[in-house]
Amino acid sequence: MPEPYNPSPVGNPSLLKRRSWLETQVVKFIGRHTPKCPDVVRILSRGMDRKLSLKTRLFLNLHYLICRWCQRYAEQLNYLRRFSRRFPEEISNVDAFTMSPDAKDRVKRRLESGP
């Protein structure tokens, strides 16, 4: 049996982090009843492609109380999506690659020869 969920409160950015006996009990309870972090990140990735069930979303939000890391991961997956949507346009402004004159001539000849 692996030990129950009990990350150290030292340097822990989460909302609940075992600062007292009571808080420790709450953290362990939530840890026992919500998915483990490696599973949470898999679920979050799935959630980018299909809507998660209400129950799953509830469990994720409970988990975030004791795990700021997974909450950040969720936020950052949304960032990645926003970045990706913008990427093709932005990179074509940043990069100065151009087609060689030869290549342009080739394309022009091909267009001339017709479909």
Partner: protein
Amino acid sequence: MEPASRPAPAEVSAGKVDPYRWVDDHGDCLYRYALARVRTPEVAEDVVQETLLVAVRSQDRFAGRSSERSWLVGSWKNKIVDYYRKLGRETSFTDMEFLKDECSHKFVEQGFWNHDLGPHEWRPEADEVMHKGEFWQTMRDCLSKLPQRVADVFMLREMDDVPSKEICAMLSISESNLWVMLHRARMALRECLEMNWFDKMNPPKGH
């Protein structure tokens, strides 16, 4: 610039289009779009050529509803999806190694994040980051570090917004395979951007 050599959209739809001018006006833009996706200049040139060929053939349907540029970019998107469709369906050995990596070193045995290796706070905020040219270059470098096949799947899903089911059909992969690939791509890209951009902008203090 002589106005005479620049037909208005109405004239374009009337069939007076000048494909030569398209190559000069839009070739480089389409080429840069393609180069960010297919990795070799030769293939990128092919994609540009195919895009313009299709555009010439279907110019009747271009009724000046949108700008010439956005019409050509739309045509380019279809071509890039075609390009992926024509690719083989093999997953290479290096892809398999990449896909097997669960990043388990980031988690302690009991199943939570190692304090030092968990995701850091990203500063500055995404909106601010998107104005910086160097950020997009970092993202391009990170994408090019993904195995080609995994990057293709990620870009089809996240850049072109192709639905999962369509990607599976297009590349003849199972849905569970697709999810694994997307999950690994997201994990690797997230980490790469954090290490090469966000941590450099705002070095993590302690944890």
